[in-house]
Subunit: 329 residues, 2 copies
Amino acid sequence: MAVTIKDVARAAGVSPSTVCRALSTPELVRAETRERVQRSAAELDYSPNRAARGLITGRTGNLGLIVPDLGNPFFPGVVKGIQARAREADHAVFLADTDEDPAAEAQLVRTLAKQVDGIVLCSPRMSEQELRGVAALTPVVLLNRRVGRLPAITFDNVDGMRQAVTHLTALGHRRIAYVAGPRASWSNRERVRGLRLAIAAAGAELVEVGPVQPQFDGGVAAADQVLAAGVTAVIAYNDVIALGLLSRLNARGIAVPAAISVLGFDDIALSAMVHPSLTTVGLPMKSCGRAGVDLLLGLLQDPDKFGTTRRELGTQLMVRGSTGPAPSA
Amino acid sequence: MAVTIKDVARAAGVSPSTVCRALSTPELVRAETRERVQRSAAELDYSPNRAARGLITGRTGNLGLIVPDLGNPFFPGVVKGIQARAREADHAVFLADTDEDPAAEAQLVRTLAKQVDGIVLCSPRMSEQELRGVAALTPVVLLNRRVGRLPAITFDNVDGMRQAVTHLTALGHRRIAYVAGPRASWSNRERVRGLRLAIAAAGAELVEVGPVQPQFDGGVAAADQVLAAGVTAVIAYNDVIALGLLSRLNARGIAVPAAISVLGFDDIALSAMVHPSLTTVGLPMKSCGRAGVDLLLGLLQDPDKFGTTRRELGTQLMVRGSTGPAPSA
DNA sequence: CAACGCTCCGCAAAGGATTTCACACTCTCC
DNA sequence: GGAGAGTGTGAAATCCTTTGCGGAGCGTTG
């Protein structure tokens, strides 16, 4: 039923070999023949069966993409970037959502490994050891995590925190709370590191709250501790937590930013839609996805390319309505 | 490098044919042999090359999934449902995001068609004609859209609107605005239909505003028209528009729900996180995804199964903070 | 004892594309 | 005019798995 290389060969009056060459290495076939073949292929709307090709070339033209939770608005941005770049490179993308289950991650890599040329692992939750294990199975690129010398795209969390703290201290805040994300999270550790550096440099004071789940309810739960800590500003591990904070503060009748400033991380679309809108450290999610695919495809072309296998992307503070001058009291 | 059926055959001291049979049709091979083969396969961690299998069986074990925009929080829910169900059935999922481009949809179907057993089309934007065209290429299931007799999973929009209007009229609202989504949207047409029925049944009055883009800014843009219409309640085509409404109303100092009630559609996660939280008609997104995969897999097993190729899922009004009694004035 | 039937397994073909190798042909140059 | 180089094409092998067909071996029956 589907049109095969033989059909094209018959239509063009040549052998399958020639069809293959005319389409994949045109310079090897005489101009006249080439055109005849290409015309026949176009007329029949022929495109090679990728499975059959993969069988012999060893390349499938597919990429795997594993994310912890599509429901977290951070990920769709990354996924879109990956999608777009992969399509440009004529690759299809297998998507798998692990529901935040580290065990499922490793399992899925193993399953996908045989069907793809490489896998993009988005904010993987599994241990370093497991990660090295699966990296031995198939080419892998890490997004938003760094482990040893494995290829990875990350954000400059430290500089992001510097921007955040600079913004807050410029507004007169001297005592700042941080609502921590999961201890196992690499990006949380990086953000804490950057935060401590920036706080120390500014001579300010830091109060750490948490860790909490990086979800709305985590922020809700942390809000009262933040208030009890007597700070004038709070930085959340991510925007979703910050939104939870805003919600609870609002419910308790605390004015934002008049009484307390709130600052998030990620710049998910939602952040601009709430009231007050959320000041946040923006991460280039789409670029991250694109860069990840670029890196992976590069690695596939030239497997021993060391050196540029890791990239760090810049961040940008988005100042909105949830931060303001420290209360003069 | 990868372990093939021959490796297993050698290890077990049988032919590749026997290995294949022992693993896929165990009853055809003697118990003793079967166990030996299965043990060897397990030891070598063998699993059949799906591309090679697909080449001969004609089934790839892959499904395609096309969504207009992952950034719209409605879709990740559906995608997660699809993911989960597909994985249970041991199928992998190709994901493609069209960025709301109807032309890309048709193109992607054509590209994916050869690599998958069937495709789930999520809220497709393309025309009925194109839709029928691509349905001829490969088995297709529609989600959130109905066209002729094509297999489809939809929501009971009419009943959803009935619930919404019943809720509002019970609160004393008599004059209600509707902010319409895109004219080309099937679900918008259905919602309008249900709305008119319910409004007529309740003897209330309807003011239609829009259509606007189904995005935050669309809601922002519609808010002032809604206010000018002198209504006491407004129903939005979807939650994202409703959030835009809330934002603009808040900016203009209009109290919600004291001065005006706002009601959305979809129940995206965000709706519960804003202030006031959004009353909305909840759609079972995950179930929708699961049902779509079920339908598709059923169709693949038995291609001539007419009758149960279309399902409509119930909706559930989620009453939250954005709706209240009509102002007594 | 011969014939038949059954079970279990191996051989070989098939599926679609790529690639190596060899063949045929043209052209050049001695 | 024939040897050699170079170009363009086809035949056949290969990738890995599945499956129709047939053969070997054994047990049963007339």
